[in-house]
Symmetry: C2
Subunit: 394 residues, 2 copies
């Protein structure tokens, strides 16, 4: 059996580039950007008025002038206006271009307007209320980088530079396959010895965050059927996420079947809990990556996050830094295995803390639902309250 770090290394050694594709701007939310984005103009693209009011020439202000004849009114969206006589003013609105011969904007709150004359009501500063052309970014500067995730804020930036279509990383086609004759459909009433399927649905939901809509498949524990259906799934997908059928049971045909289908076994069984029977391999000819998780809900869900999500992020070039939490209790060492323990996290006085959940083994779905993620405890070491340790969020 190999250790968790060795297993993770083997998983990350198989990453694949799925290429890129163009999608419409609003379809790109939560996708991974596949191009660097540059400013196509200065930001702002012109000296932009930031207050509604009047625009004047500061020389007039310096000479002590306090009343100004209004020459014109310019709205945002009008071509650039002009102040003909530097002793006068123009009315000007937020978002408009600063008119020619003007260098100062005085907001309406500071003037009184009567009979076409604006009179200052208070002392004002020159050269303010203008967002200067290019002061945020200059044309040609890089403003977003390849490999970052596109969120709502980035959508605004992409829109501003005219990206009606965005180049993003292509996502792998994924099949989630459950095995196990004890499983019945959610809508069915299980017999005493049966349970409803749940693992694959959790994984389906977890992939929604990644904008992946996987194929869902349940296969009976019958070798011939399994062989055929797994092969079929392999022909149409880049990744198989299997749940169940990799333990030492008599009807755990998967390792055999995967071998028959020429999936190179990169490891089977890891010194970890939950998820000791984890099976991982690659079909090189078809370039299909196979994660075969144990059938228990916690094992599957935790190992999906520990291995698959990191693999996917690496494939998409979007690795993020490891998250860490502060332990709230002591935990004694385990001599040989890496443990993933369910925790509830809390932010208290700026401290990100993890409280252990009382779990009841790897079948305990309810504790899983209460958890925010797992802490990763390597073997041998003792852990003390206050220690900062790796945290993997669900």
């Amino acid at each position: 059996m190999i250790s968790h770090p060795e297993a993770l290394e083997k998983v990350l050694a198989t990453i694949t580039n799925f290429g890129t594709e163009k999608v419409a701007l609003l379809e790109s939310v939560n996708r991974i950007l596949a191009e660097d984005i540059f400013a196509d103009r200065d930001f702002p693209p012109f000296d932009r008025v930031t207050k509604d009011g009047i625009a004047v020439n500061s020389e007039a202000l310096e000479k002590g002038k306090t009343s100004f004849k209004i020459e014109a009114v310019y709205a945002a969206g009008s071509p650039q206006g002009i102040l003909n006589d530097p002793k006068n003013c123009v009315e000007i609105m937020t978002g408009a271009m600063l008119p020619k011969n003007c260098d100062s904007v005085i907001m309406y709150e500071d003037v009184e307007i009567e009979d076409g004359i604006a009179r200052l009501q208070t002392e004002v500063n020159a050269k303010i209320n203008i967002h200067r052309q290019g002061s945020d970014r200059q044309s040609g500067e890089e403003i977003l980088s390849k490999n970052q995730r596109i969120s709502a804020k980035e959508i605004g930036v992409l829109a501003t530079v005219g990206k009606a279509e965005v180049l993003v990383k292509k996502l792998p086609k994924i099949a989630i396959i459950s095995t196990g004759d004890e499983l019945v459909d959610v809508a069915e009433t299980p017999l005493p010895h049966q349970i409803r399927t749940s693992n694959t649905l959790s994984l389906f939901a977890a992939l929604e965050k990644e904008k992946i809509t996987p194929t869902l498949l349940h296969i009976r524990d019958e070798k011939e059927v399994m062989l055929q259906q797994v092969e079929n799934a392999m022909n149409n997908h880049d990744v198989l996420l299997l749940s169940g059928g990799v333990s030492k049971g008599k009807f755990d045909y998967l390792p055999e079947i995967l071998e028959e289908l020429k999936v190179e076994k990169l490891f089977h069984r890891v010194l970890q809990r939950p998820g000791k029977p984890l099976w991982f391999g690659k079909q090189h000819e078809k370039n299909v990556t196979v994660f075969s998780f144990p059938g228990n809900p916690n094992s599957t869900f935790v190992n999906f996050h520990i291995y698959f999500k990191k693999w996917l992020a690496a494939c998409l070039g979007n690795e993020t830094s490891t998250s860490e939490v502060i332990l709230k209790t002591d935990i004694a060492n385990h001599p040989t295995i890496t443990r993933y323990l369910l925790v509830k996290t809390k932010l208290e006085n700026g401290q990100f803390q993890a409280e252990l959940l009382n779990e009841n083994g790897s079948g305990d779905l309810i504790s899983l639902a209460n958890a925010d993620g797992v802490i990763v405890l390597p073997p041998e070491k003792d852990f003390k309250q206050g220690d900062v340790i790796e945290f993997v969020e669900f």
Copy 2:
């Protein structure tokens, strides 16, 4: 002008219950649960075998028996088996019901099987490798609560108790409306005095997280057109999110129009930055809530999170606790206004820290894209490095 806390109070005083609806299980991800969920059976529903191996009666083990004749093999998904002679054993697989007359499971790793006889290879414990019926939850216990958000983990729980359809909170119908003649479409090349639309697209993307697909609308700065289109939008939506047109500008018709459409103005202008011109009101007859944000990208995006998102969470019964961060720099007080400053957050040694971004005023879209959220600084107080203050995440 009112203060930020007063404004927020007025916003939260208008919350509306949008009712509930049933959706298919996999459609419920990220929705807010509208029913308490109870265990329909014990969890696990039977004494569940957790290792592949043999099941025996512990009396035989206590008597020092180390070899067992195999009576039968039971897979997961078979009805409960039976051990006829307590001196014998049955082979049993993970996930199966513990057979009658058995109380111990010995994993394959600890036995050797030859000629229908299983022989212990090591000393073993009695009564292990069984996940006891009802040990996680008893039938009838509450396992998920109304008003919580449904994530991938909850999908597993809902599936397990047979919720093929889930009762969730209905979402409001939202129209996002931009005004401002300086705006052109993303696909267009703007003239020197124009800019591309971006605010409304950012809000559209931000609502995706909430599973809301809003209507997008741009209206010209022409009073009659505006009146008609806003009225139309009001007839078909529960919420209007307006961007632009509420400053003191000559062409800022919105406050007038909203009054004509009998929207009660609950406040206009708040002692805050960005977003001083924020306008908020309610059309009681049509039960439409109107958030009218200033046109600047940062003002709109920040105030959307400060006011609208809290309002939505309250409408759906899903208020969450306020998040907090540790300040990394001193910040001098402002005498009168509440400030929302863009920050980048970092988790370092379990400390959740906020670093101020060098922003360049409320039009600075690029700084916005680099921010993880804003810190909320009430007026009057000075802030010191190490202070823990409110953080609103984007």
